[in-house]
Symmetry: C2
Subunit: 147 residues, 2 copies
């Protein structure tokens, strides 16, 4: 099993702002994909759709201002069964986001792509909270010939 | 041992353009850090300096238009002994860059940071080749409270 890891710092007044962007449909739609539906409550399912495909995520854990965990229940075969974990903490003026997309079976080329793409979505989350404007799909930053 | 993996596609006429940006001092200075000196020839050493610290890299492999490998010989302790590998291929109009920073002893918080930072430097490499203008240090994209 291999993991994608990232870290960003959001200049936000409190972890609550980042937590809300991860735990509401409107929040997720502001940085990941505009076509986000479902529910971000614990035990519920978030439904994310992109111009090409999408993901269904079960909300496994939702600890206010500290931690969010999703499990992928539908989507590309390499993603199904993996978990996406967010750990938040405050360091000075920054809310630090430690991100992990865990449980990839193999370090396939698609994982390389998703790692870079995750970085760009994390920068979109940071921009949403710092400037009010993210770049969710379909306005997402294109990184290669796959998207 | 754990690895940072990324993939970008550069809209470039040929892998040669990307290869040159990885194998000349001027090229590396255009996307990673303006303060790049030394030599990018096989067996030689590239010396990269940033406002806070830097890296010395030994050029282990340099296969024209296909592959470049560096070994970190000096820098932060977590980096020393790791390798940085670049594999290039042409897919339609894109030169695809498969990137791996291999051999981290542990998935420490600094590795999370470096993974996101690598993504931003790869996007800088892409921008340099597509638009003529990258964002090397000290003009690099800030991702968190560490840089």
């Amino acid at each position: 099993m291999v993991d994608i890891l990232h870290r960003v710092g959001v200049l936000a007044p409190a972890p609550r702002n980042v937590f809300d962007a991860l735990t509401t449909v409107e929040g997720v739609a502001g940085w990941w994909t505009e076509d986000t539906t479902g529910s971000a409550r614990e035990g519920d399912k978030l439904v994310l759709r992109f111009p090409a495909g999408g993901f269904d995520l079960e909300v496994l854990e939702r600890r206010p201002d500290e931690r969010v965990v999703w499990r992928v229940t539908d989507g590309p075969s390499e993603w199904v069964g993996t978990t996406i974990e967010w750990d938040l903490s405050q360091e000075g003026e920054y809310t630090v986001v430690l991100f992990a997309h865990r449980g990839w079976a193999e370090p396939v080329e698609f994982m390389h792509h998703c790692s870079t793409k995750w970085a760009s979505f994390l920068m979109s989350l940071k921009a949403l909270l710092e400037t009010g404007e993210g770049t969710p799909a379909p306005r997402d930053v294109k990184i290669d010939n796959w998207n």
